[in-house]
């Protein structure tokens, strides 16, 4: 906090354009970091380490920005290295037989990735849909933790930011999520984005009361704004979560095409955001989700490269617990959505990351998500743990050829209610057919599923 009060004064615009963006461009050149369109999942350890070094130099020089004090927050190399050294190397989430330990992974690691499954805060139209979806997510065998959807209304009223409706929505979100896990007998499952509806610190603090079912063994995600910007409201959330004794998860989404520039800058910025999270948020776990500025998804080859490169940089050089969240352009009941998911999951898992899955159809359309997409993600994630980055890269190239021509105008598929029997929690036969077809195609590409 002292650094935010005493750092160099700077306008936000100057920080973004003339400090962050300008220096990032130079750092990328100085370290000779180059995107290779032939290798969406690169295998160059030296390059991964260069990305890490570039991120370290960049973060030391540029620092982060505090919106409220309009000052630059800087950390020196010793502080950064100490934060990386003392960051948790494992965290236990959940309770009883549903408890699990999130541990770091390395590139090509056979250790199964942590599967944080669900909707990634995607919007849903009703509490019934919310409950039904979360029951579906909790029923997936590979689920280690739940990522809930976000309610958009409470008792028929559209939620307004910073209003009592937002606080009530956050409470409802917590209660319903826990209830859904109880209904399927997995009440100990950790919910790691329980308060997707709580945009403000007040709403988060309101819903943290134990009577709403949240626990210190859940995870709590708090955003860092692009590019490396924090504010008092988010720092207040950090205080609230730490006072509960719970692990803070920092989420950040450097946009490719935005202030971070191209794939190289996005990879470097993504790594630097981890440093900021470990220092300013005391984050126990990290949730990067770099997205494409135009397509708002993780699926283009440049993005896969940035995910993989930054993942390798982090996993080779630190023990930070990092999970990549992916967004697809296409929606449920489409082959494209599953191809995109497979590509992004593969890029993350073989690079040493765990996964959060996922934001479907750019995570913007109400009810356009089902339990089938995270289930598919988890099956792919377990299947590809341990495969070589080179092999994964070849598979991804085949998958890219199946969807990149449609990325600008993707099929949005169907809503949950249109491709699922909501009461029974079963997918339509049409969806099962598509699911099995794509799985078969991946098997043909040498992906060995466990079931």
């Amino acid at each position: 906090m002292e650094k935010a009060l005493t750092g160099r004064p700077c306008s936000e615009r100057d920080y973004m354009l003339r400090v962050f963006a300008a220096r990032l461009r130079e750092i990328v050149k100085e370290h000779g970091i180059k995107y290779d369109s032939e290798a969406p999942i690169p295998s160059d350890n030296g390059l991964a380490d260069d990305v890490f070094k570039a991120a370290l130099d960049f973060f030391i020089e540029v620092g982060a920005y505090c919106k409220d004090t309009e000052r630059i927050i800087k950390f020196d190399e010793d502080e950064i290295k100490e934060a990386l050294r003392t960051a948790p190397s494992q965290v236990v989430f959940g309770e009883g037989r549903d408890a699990g330990t999130l541990i770091p992974r390395k590139p090509e690691d056979k250790t199964p990735p942590w599967c944080f499954l669900g909707a990634g805060g995607g919007p849903v139209s009703s509490e019934e849909t919310f409950l039904s979806l979360v029951e579906g997510y909790a029923s997936i065998p590979e689920t280690n933790s739940i990522t809930t959807p976000a309610l958009t209304s409470v008792s028929g009223l559209r939620i307004r930011p910073k209003s009592p409706l937002e606080a009530l929505g956050a409470i409802r979100n917590a209660v319903l999520a826990r209830e859904a896990t109880r209904r399927v007998g997995r009440q100990g499952l950790p919910i790691m984005n329980t308060l997707a509806t709580a945009e403000s610190a007040t709403s988060l603090a309101t819903a943290l009361h134990p009577k709403y079912g949240l626990r210190a063994s859940d995870g709590y995600m708090i955003a860092i704004m692009d590019p490396m910007i924090v504010d008092f409201d988010r720092l207040n959330k950090v205080c609230a979560v730490l006072s509960l004794g719970a692990p803070v998860g920092a989420c950040f989404d450097p946009l490719m095409g935005g202030y971070s520039g191209g794939p190289e800058g996005t990879a470097v910025a993504n790594v630097a955001h981890h440093f900021l999270a470990a220092l300013a948020y005391q984050a126990s776990w990290h949730l990067p989700f770099p997205l494409h500025i135009k397509y708002v998804c993780s699926s283009p080859p440049e993005l896969l490269w940035a995910i993989s490169m930054s993942g390798q940089a982090i996993s080779r050089n630190t023990h930070l617990l990092s999970l990549n969240l992916n967004y697809t352009a296409a929606g449920p009941l489409t082959e494209m959505c599953l191809y995109e998911t497979a590509s992004a999951v593969m890029a993350a898992v073989v690079s040493g990351l765990s996964i959060e899955a996922l934001g479907v159809a750019t995570n913007k359309y109400e009810d356009r998500m089902t339990p089938m997409e995270p289930k598919f993600s988890a099956e792919v994630a377990h299947a590809v743990a341990g495969i070589k980055r080179n092999d994964a890269s070849e598979i991804v190239k085949d998958l890219l050829a199946k969807y990149m021509d449609k990325i600008g105008d993707p099929p949005l598929g169907r809503k949950y209610q249109e491709c699922f029997d909501v009461k029974r929690g079963k997918p339509s036969s049409e969806y099962v057919e598509i699911y099995n077809k794509v799985k078969g195609e991946l098997e043909d590409l040498s992906v060995k599923f466990q079931r």
Binding site: L17, A21, T152, R158, I159, P161, M225, L255, I293
Partner: protein, 220 residues
């Protein structure tokens, strides 16, 4: 002294390079040389802005370059517009835009504002977390054709509806076109809250703004 064609080229190049000093100096030189400021804008600054917009669309350049080019364009415009009588104003329309109350995300809105400026709109960007009444007051003050409302979070989307309801309540709804955009917005949502238009991407927002202005002019 530079010829007309050379001045146009230099203005265009200044915008493409994001060189504000060159844009200002060349705009002054255009005036001193007796070049028609309307032509200097159309064939110089706007040409450069179109080049930058196209490059950004193809992601040959990124957001920082786009925003810096928009700054250069604005600086040159300020000088040239001062020389044009008000009745000959070149503006395609006046836009008041911002990110709605409770939402602090600005990137998408900044891209739209930059592209609108590049396409000849006068843009009043109110920033982020903008109170509902501020949109209405500013739109009235600058006689805005369009109010553009951005929201990135599904939890802040409701504030777009609040602005439209407020306009209705104070009897100003018919005076302004309302466009909505941002992460969670959809055409369905725009229809539901009574917005006049929704665009999925920034270039689409520019096209839509031009269409809606044209329709408005035809109606009046």
């Amino acid at each position: 002294m530079l010829g007309e064609a050379e001045i146009f080229d230099r203005l265009s190049e200044a915008v493409v390079a994001g060189d504000t000093e060159a844009a200002v100096e060349t705009a002054k030189e255009a005036i001193e040389s007796g070049v028609d400021p309307v032509k200097a804008i159309e064939n110089g600054l706007s040409r450069g802005a179109r080049i930058v917009g196209d490059r950004f669309e193809r992601l040959e350049i990124y957001l920082p370059e786009l925003l810096i080019a928009a700054e250069s364009m604005e600086a040159g415009l300020e000088i040239l517009l001062a020389e044009i009588p008000k009745d000959k104003a070149l503006r395609k329309g006046i836009v008041v835009c911002g990110t709605v109350k409770g939402d602090i995300h600005e990137i998408g809105k900044k891209i739209v504002a930059a592209l609108l400026r590049a396409n000849g709109f006068e843009v009043h960007d109110l920033g982020a977390d903008v109170p509902t009444s501020r949109f209405v007051e500013e739109a009235g003050k600058v006689r805005a054709d369009i109010i553009g409302l951005s929201a990135l979070m599904s939890s802040t989307l409701g504030a777009q509806k609040d602005v439209i309801d407020y306009l209705q309540a104070v009897g100003m709804r018919e005076k302004h076109i309302v466009m909505v955009g941002g992460g969670p917005t959809t055409q369905e949502w725009a229809d539901q809250i009574g917005a006049d238009g929704y665009a999925r991407t920034a270039p689409d927002a520019v096209k839509l703004a031009l269409e809606l202005i044209k329709e408005k002019k035809e109606r009046s």
